[in-house]
């Protein structure tokens, strides 16, 4: 290698042109700075944690040693005793059920309590974890006995309300006594499953049989059951309530992000029908397919991306996407999502010299102020644009501005994206996965509304899915687009 050639390569390596970093990059990085950077504090915490774990481990070892020593020292039982236990016959079922005993207590209570008990009987049964180790009759005995004991305590300590709830719940919530009126009423209204099961003329329970299967509660009993579970301090929330507990907002900045929109349309298509145009929430479809960011976001982040339209660009039709993601926090079950910012305002200013026509996809054009922008939010809005051509590379097409006041530091922040002509010069296929899925999802939604153009969208969706066979959203989009375009179950 001669020195001239070497110098040439060195020169090329050294003189690679680099664009300016994006305007918002500094803010993005700064928003990632953790609140607690102190290494010393972290080390001290880590040391404390290690020390605590070691103490627990030592305690466990000591306990195991004691147990082992006791096992060695204690004489073992004779084999005959074991045989005797095995040969014991199951006890006959009691003639009076636990419910009867409870009912006696209740009859002596006030008439108002009787009404509550009657309501509780009418209410549908609640689902409880199935207990398999104990026969129902014996379990009922134990619970009724326990309930009666608690009733006696409740009558003294907690008053009449506690007495009723203890009696009816038969031990499940019977321990909660002397509480406030509304809570106890909920407890009284929520029936004890064992009591309900036995209030019907059921056959005498077979010893060691499983508890009868109880149908899942209807929606009206959901709140009562949840209240009961909450009062009892345990988590009894079955999956059937998952939708009830989904506290995520259905719209952000006025843009629909309802996650159920896609499921409903998909179900309609799978049933062989075509969804009515008015039922198609295009914005929600866009947000379903845009999904969450690929990487975990901290703070508030805004993306703006432009590309030619996936179908029928014709040299001037383009798509502009803006997405706002907020930092992810863990929310306990049933908890509410905390806000990350307040007074959030999203503004878009289009340059009419560059844009001939602006069509907000869905209702993205009517942006509203968000008084409280929550964590765990991803919202995407799309605009279909007709650009004036030829467009100059440096010509401003739009300016997107997001201002908000951070809850964490109380300061006002502004994120600005300037979209220029050069942003539209890339191919749609070179756009990010999120942009392609969102824009194609939008066109699919529009095709459902207008009943035209579905085949082009389906073709494009098939390409997308074939290029990314592991992409679940791309596969879903292909399936529904093909089906709704006549290639599948469309009637």
């Amino acid at each position: 290698m001669n020195s001239k050639r070497k110098a040439d390569i060195q020169r090329k390596l050294s003189l690679t042109a680099v664009p300016r970093p994006p305007d918002d990059l500094l803010d993005r990085i700064k928003s990632d700075i953790p609140n607690y950077l102190s290494v010393e504090a972290e080390r001290a915490r880590f040391s404390r944690s290690i020390g605590f774990n070691l103490r627990i481990a030592a305690s466990i070892i000591v306990l195991i040693s004691i147990a082992a020593a006791l096992y060695v020292v204690t004489p073992t039982k004779s084999p005959n005793a074991v045989v005797a236990i095995q040969q014991r016959k199951p006890e006959p079922a009691p003639t009076a059920s636990a419910t009867d005993e409870v009912r006696l207590d209740i009859v002596q209570a006030a008439p108002a309590m009787q009404r509550q008990i009657a309501d509780a009987r009418i209410a549908p049964p609640a689902e409880v974890p199935r207990v398999e180790s104990e026969p129902p009759a014996r379990r009922a005995d134990v619970r009724a006995e326990e309930g009666r004991r608690r009733n006696e305590i409740a009558a003294v300590e907690g008053g009449v309300e506690g007495f009723v709830s203890g009696g009816v719940a038969g031990g499940t919530v019977g321990g909660v006594i002397g509480g406030n009126e509304s809570r106890d009423r909920e407890e009284a209204a929520a029936p004890a499953p064992q009591q309900l099961a036995e209030s019907t003329p059921a056959p005498v329970p077979t010893p060691y049989a499983y508890a009868p299967e109880v149908p899942p509660p209807p929606a009206t009993a959901a709140a009562e059951t949840r209240a009961m579970a909450k009062t009892a301090g345990v988590s009894l929330v079955p999956p059937v309530y998952a939708d009830d507990l989904n506290l995520a907002p259905k719209s952000v900045f006025g843009i629909s992000v309802d996650p159920s929109a896609f499921r409903k349309i998909r179900a309609t298509i799978e049933s062989g029908a075509r969804p009515s145009p008015s039922s198609v929430d295009v914005e929600a479809l866009v947000n379903y397919f845009a999904g969450a960011p690929a990487r975990r976001v901290r703070g508030v982040r805004m993306e703006a991306e432009a590309s030619p339209a996936p179908v029928g660009a014709n040299g001037h039709r383009a798509i502009l996407r803006l997405t706002i993601d907020t930092g992810v926090v863990d929310v306990p079950e049933g908890g509410s999502v905390p806000p990350i910012a307040k007074d959030a305002l999203l503004e878009i200013d289009f340059n009419r010299d560059a844009v001939e026509r602006i069509d907000p996809i869905g209702d993205s054009g009517t942006l509203v102020r968000e008084n409280a922008l929550l964590h765990n939010v991803s919202v995407t809005g799309l605009y279909a644009l007709d650009l004036r051509t030829p467009l100059k590379a440096k010509q401003r097409v739009a300016t997107i501005r997001l201002t908000y006041r951070s809850v964490e530091d109380g300061k006002k922040h502004t994120i600005v994206h300037e979209v220029r002509g050069s942003d539209f010069s890339k191919q749609w296929a070179s756009a990010s996965r999120r942009h392609r899925l969102a824009s194609l999802g939008a066109l699919w939604g529009e095709s459902l509304r207008s009943s035209s153009g579905g085949s082009d969208v389906a073709r494009r969706a098939e390409e997308l899915a074939s290029q990314a066979p592991n992409d679940e959203r791309a596969r879903e989009l292909k399936e529904v687009a093909v089906a709704s375009s006549g290639g599948g179950g469309t009637r």
Partner: protein, 193 residues
């Protein structure tokens, strides 16, 4: 990396760097912000030269700092702060390219007609094409040579610093660079003109 940019990053006084590091370790968020302000454009430039994509570089730069905060307790301060940051950025980039590649379409849709009034567009394109070929050739180098070349020319790290983090002598680093140039020359000669 341009000379002025390199000087701004690597020629910061040792005591100043230690002061910043100490403040960050004491939990001073303002010091962390100052560090970011001083270094982020250089980290961005280093990653851009590796990947050639502005948006991706921004994302990877952000990821680099996220990893840096998490790994701050492990930084022993023996190398310069930017050297440490560059190593994280380089690893972040390598992790990225080891993930599955981004999709490309089977056919190209209509593109938007965008004109630029900048003069000598063809010349710019030729330079960009050459730079892209060079970048691809560098990416094909063996890992040790690739890191040495990119850290020296694109990360702006002096040979001495690279030798320190690679735990080899400066002579060995210069040998690596020589081998890398030989390989690059042969690869660039093979490239279609």
């Amino acid at each position: 990396m341009q000379k002025s940019e390199r000087e701004a990053v690597t020629a910061s006084p040792w005591s100043e760097e230690q002061r910043l590091l100490g403040a960050i370790r004491a939990g001073d968020t303002a010091a962390a912000e100052e560090l970011v302000e001083r270094t982020y454009s250089a980290v961005f430039a280093s990653i851009y030269r590796l990947c050639g994509d502005s948006d991706l570089s921004a994302d990877l730069t952000q990821e680099t700092y996220q990893k840096a905060w998490a790994a701050l307790s492990g930084f022993d301060g023996r190398s310069q702060l930017f050297t440490w940051l560059y190593r994280i950025a380089y690893t972040t980039f390598l992790n990225y390219i080891r993930r599955p590649r981004r999709m490309t379409s089977l056919d190209e849709p209509d593109s938007i007609d965008v004109a630029d009034e900048t003069p000598a567009v063809d010349a710019v394109l030729v330079v960009q094409e050459e730079a892209e070929h060079l970048r691809e050739a560098v990416m094909k180098l063996p890992e040790d040579l690739r890191f040495t070349v990119t850290a020296h020319f694109w990360g702006g790290l002096p040979v001495k610093e690279i030798a320190r983090i690679e735990k080899i002598t400066t002579v060995a680093i210069r040998k690596r660079l020589h081998r890398a140039f030989t390989l690059l020359e042969s690869m660039l000669d093979e490239e279609p003109s």
